[in-house]
């Protein structure tokens, strides 16, 4: 060990250099304000657009803060600050579309929302007036049917994967296929349902249940994945505790594992519903649309909110303005439904979550 001592480079200034010059904690904010100020000033003088001002301010910040840091704190700290600034910038950038989208949907959609809009269909309506009741009901019915198909299959399949298959070949294959299935384009799911029902009922078939089947193709993998993750999170100890009490496996699954995982499963299912409730392409293909309320998913076209939005925007004609207004209104309703489901998913997850007490 004395070797170590000898080869050590000659005396450092202090034995233990712990202190390093630092720029103040408020430096990033100060830099941001300065950059913004300079850019705004230049923008005012040179007549830049707002976008240009923001871009220049950002560029100043990204260059300026690390430069300041490099001068005082050294290169390593400067790099750290550069990356920090860039990382936060990406977040800000990602928020622009969300903010714009939220603003536009509310701005363009709120005016038309009324009780008439929510309770009338489009039968006999040419210009203004009418509503989305038929589309709302269609979306609810088809989504409910898809849920009724997907949840039992998805949950049972997840139970197979976690509780029975555990790593065997079939389970691995299914896990893999489920993963791949998550990536099926929604339009392909629609084509599948179309091809399937065309072969059964002949050409030109359009009905709600076809849409439910197509949506199930999209929904099942989400349900399986969510349930699988939740079941995996149930500690092995709980299963063992139950087995050790002499409880058979299936009762252990039903009475101990599923209740413990219920919160997560409900959350996952709700998120899956939210995801498919906004699907358009498969419904366009296999459900079509209509102006009249149709509550029978086994007979004839049904309107749904997403397809209503699409066709309102793309039909055009004399009443384009009215149709577009209805489309934004329907979009607001659809976004509200989907967001509510998302919030609900989280709330439900909390309500059902096992009471940890402490």
């Amino acid at each position: 060990m004395s070797l170590l001592e000898e080869r050590r480079p000659a005396a450092k200034p202090t034995a233990m250099p712990l202190v390093a010059p630092q720029i103040p904690a408020y430096a990033p904010w100060l830099a941001a304000v300065l950059a913004g100020g300079i850019a705004a000033l230049a923008g005012l003088l040179l007549g830049w657009s707002l976008v240009a001002v923001v871009l220049v301010a950002w560029a100043l910040l990204v260059v300026g803060l690390p430069a300041w840091s490099a001068a005082i704190e050294g290169e390593r700290r400067a790099k750290d600050r550069l990356v920090t600034t860039i990382a936060w910038s990406t977040f800000a950038l990602a928020m622009i579309p969300l903010a714009s989208l939220a603003w536009e949907v509310v701005e363009n959609g709120h005016a038309i929302i009324s009780s008439e809009f929510l309770t009338y269909d489009m039968r006999g309506v040419l210009g203004a007036g009418g509503g989305i009741y038929h589309a709302l009901m269609g979306t609810l019915i088809i989504t409910a049917l898809a849920t009724a198909i997907s949840v039992p299959i998805g949950v049972m399949a997840a139970i197979y994967l976690v509780e029975y298959g555990k790593g065997n070949r079939l389970a691995r294959t299914i896990t893999f296929l489920v993963d791949v299935m998550t990536g099926i384009p929604s339009i392909v799911a629609g084509l599948f349902a179309f091809a399937l029902f065309t072969m059964i009922f002949g050409p030109g078939v359009r009905f709600g249940i076809g849409g439910a089947v197509a949506l199930s193709v999209l929904m099942i993998p989400i349900v399986v994945r969510a349930t699988e993750e939740m079941l995996k999170l149930v500690p092995e100890e709980l299963r063992e505790a139950s087995y050790a009490l002499g409880v058979p496996k299936w009762r252990t699954i039903v009475k101990v594992v599923l209740p413990t995982a219920l919160g997560g499963i409900v959350t996952g299912v709700t998120l899956a519903i939210a995801r498919v409730a906004g699907e358009t392409a498969p419904l366009l293909i296999i459900v079509g649309t209509t102006t009249t309320l149709n509550l029978n998913p086994f007979d004839g076209r049904m309107a749904t909110l997403p397809v209503f939005i699409f066709s309102s925007v793309t039909t055009g004609g004399k009443y384009d303005a009215e149709q577009t207004a209805r489309a934004w209104g329907a979009a607001l309703v659809l976004v509200a439904i989907v967001m509510t489901l998302n919030l609900l998913a989280r709330a439900v997850g909390k309500v059902f979550a096992p009471k940890t007490g402490r």
Partner: protein, 346 residues
């Protein structure tokens, strides 16, 4: 829905009809059909009519297969692919009824800085859409518009990106009047090599022209909205796309020869030099059977009533008002009416 029952048109007398009628076909008729459905259901509150705009081809296919009791189609039946024979078979061996019910001018809509009025000769139109005339201040355009302040800007020519009866009629016109410039013939799908912006559906073209700069496109005149529309050169004059000017073309066009009595179809005379005729016109037909029997009796009865409404004065006027189509001339209307009234239902 609360509004199903509050239609005020139910004046009792005419509405002993009940049931639902599902047909479809050419999307060009969609707006007019939507209007007709509203009008018809008003006086027949217990009838539900749906018109699926599945396209002319789909309409013919479903008509032949029996899925639709009647269909709308931008093209009449021919035996190029055996459709006429098949349709005859479908109608129990009788030749199907083919009648024009929707005549609509195809407007050239434009959005050019500082230009409100535009005259275009057939060759110029072909040159623009074929991608040969690329700037607004090109001499060909300037010649027709000596007083316009044409900008020195590129032309953004907008066409339909989907398969379209409008495209077919428009290119048919170009093919006939300017065949040496427009070399692609009459086609339903726009040929890529001619370039330009592709837009989905008539509304897509209209909104692309509206939101683009220095754009021009072709669209059913009823959808032009507040966009400027060009006058098209016919003979020595330039004619705008009004319903009257469009309706006139059927008066000057010959019937297609060699069709039976139940078929009233036209070979449009795009090269007409008749005054006041707007030549770029889309004509859409209704296909139906002369008699409906057995299972189809109810659908036949409803179809007959509905078709009668469509070609009635009331129906044609309502279509003109709501969808901008040109009402049939009196002469043509009475001819068509007798065909529809002759439909038998057992």
């Amino acid at each position: 829905a609360g509004n199903a029952e509050d239609g005020d048109g139910g004046n009792g007398a005419s509405s002993d009809l009940t049931g639902s009628l599902a047909a479809g076909g050419a999307s060009s008729q969609e707006a007019a059909q939507n209007a007709w459905i509203v009008g018809f259901q008003e006086s027949n509150p217990d009838v539900t009519v749906t018109y699926d705009p599945v396209g002319s081809g789909g309409g013919r296919e479903n008509f032949i297969s029996g899925a639709f009791p009647f269909a709308g189609s931008d093209a009449y039946l021919t035996d190029d692919e055996g459709e006429l024979t098949a349709a005859t078979e479908r109608c129990g061996g009788e030749a199907p009824i083919e009648i024009p019910n929707y005549i609509s001018p195809i407007a050239l809509v434009f959005n050019v800085d500082g230009v409100d009025e535009l005259n275009l000769s057939p060759e110029t139109i072909a040159g623009i859409f074929a991608g040969e005339i690329t700037r607004w201040n090109a001499p060909e355009i300037a010649e027709d518009n000596p007083n316009a302040d044409l900008p020195d800007a590129g032309i953004n020519a907008v066409h339909r990106s989907d398969e379209s009866g409008t495209t077919e009629n428009f290119t048919n016109y170009l093919d006939i009047v300017a065949g040496d410039v427009w070399t692609a013939g009459a086609i339903e799908v726009w040929p890529q090599e001619f370039g330009g912006e592709g837009a989905q559906g008539t509304s897509g073209v209209v909104s692309a022209v509206k939101s683009g700069t220095n754009s021009i496109g072709y669209a059913d005149a009823s959808q032009a909205g507040d966009l400027s529309v060009a006058n098209v050169g016919v003979g020595d004059e330039f004619v705008g796309p009004t319903a009257d000017a469009a309706a006139k073309i059927l008066d000057v066009s010959p019937r297609v020869e060699g069709r039976g009595d139940s078929s009233i179809v036209f070979e449009l005379d795009y090269e007409t030099e008749e005054g006041g005729v707007y030549p770029i016109v889309l004509t859409s037909y209704l296909l139906a059977c002369p008699s409906y029997t057995g299972d189809e009796a109810e659908a036949g009865e409803l179809s007959k009533a509905y078709l009668e409404y469509i070609i009635s004065d009331e129906g044609q006027d309502f279509g003109a008002e709501e969808a901008g189509s040109a009402p049939l001339s009196d002469e043509l209307q009475s001819e068509v009416q007798s065909l529809v009234e002759g439909i038998t239902v057992e």
